[in-house]
Symmetry: C2
Subunit: 135 residues, 2 copies
DNA sequence: CATAGTTGTTGCAAAATGCAATAACTATTT
DNA sequence: AAATAGTTATTGCATTTTGCAACAACTATG
């Protein structure tokens, strides 16, 4: 990482994932079961391949993601969350809830509705699920 | 706002504040009692004046901030949060907590320690405080 | 009328992003 | 082994955003 702008924890966090793409990759792994470059590339937001490589590299360097060779296919890499990455869950959930609340064109789906009913319960449940597959 | 990349609430939220500066301005208003251009400009992260103007304009257009003439000084403007802006509090708190947890060089100060002890309580308390001064 | 305070604007360089084409490597098929 | 397909990148170039420094417009104050 380049030098921090300040020692404010918010500023330091934004130094890492304060951009339009990083948290979407995290979302894909965290909530959509995606694990590979090609799956991230296929997401509806259409990230460019050079940006994707750059973000994966940064997130790996920050120890938010881990990159491994797929056991089933040696030409494929699998990305998974570390505990540090999994701990981004509450942030992702809060951002999702705010976005759904204030965007007419962002319908709450299954998870969004559960969050509206019982946010803390969802975070607790999902963080337990994530713990099973963190690296 | 430009066109949304998708109808995912996370993506839509990041379309609005997915950058390194917007949430720092929000932080200044929300947690540090700052209200004016010159105060934001003086923050330790050293935002450039053209970026600051741009972010304030965007945040106002998104109805996250409201800009008013200062009653005490007609050449001064005051920025305050709307309810939509105040509802970013849980996101800001979670980002602060994660940043403090994973950065050695980001000491928890008073608020950070309270968050570690009772995050939900802090959010509840601060959101009540904010409600008193939302526009 | 001079000065300071506040909120911008402008110009230019640097960095990040977006887009399209292509390449390297592996696995599979013929 | 040659051809094909799948996966993960790299490269070049145009566009956009950011960073930095200087300056300008407006308003209060003395």
């Amino acid at each position: 990482m380049e030098k921090a702008r300040s020692d404010c924890p918010i500023s330091c966090s934004l130094d890492v994932f304060g951009d339009k793409w990083s948290l979407l990759i995290i979302r894909d792994i965290m909530l959509r079961g995606k694990v590979s470059y090609s799956e991230f590339l296929a997401s509806e937001e259409k990230i460019a391949s050079n940006i994707l490589v750059n973000r994966l590299t940064v997130l790996e360097a920050e120890k938010i993601l881990v990159k491994e060779v797929s056991p089933a296919n040696k030409s494929k890499f699998l990305y998974s969350l570390t505990q540090k990455g999994a701990d981004l869950l509450p942030i992702v959930i809060e951002i999702m809830d705010w976005g759904a609340k204030y965007n007419e064109n962002c319908p709450r789906r299954e998870l969004g509705k559960k969050i509206k009913k019982d946010k803390a319960g969802v975070v607790k449940e999902l963080s337990q699920e994530l713990r099973k597959r963190v690296k």
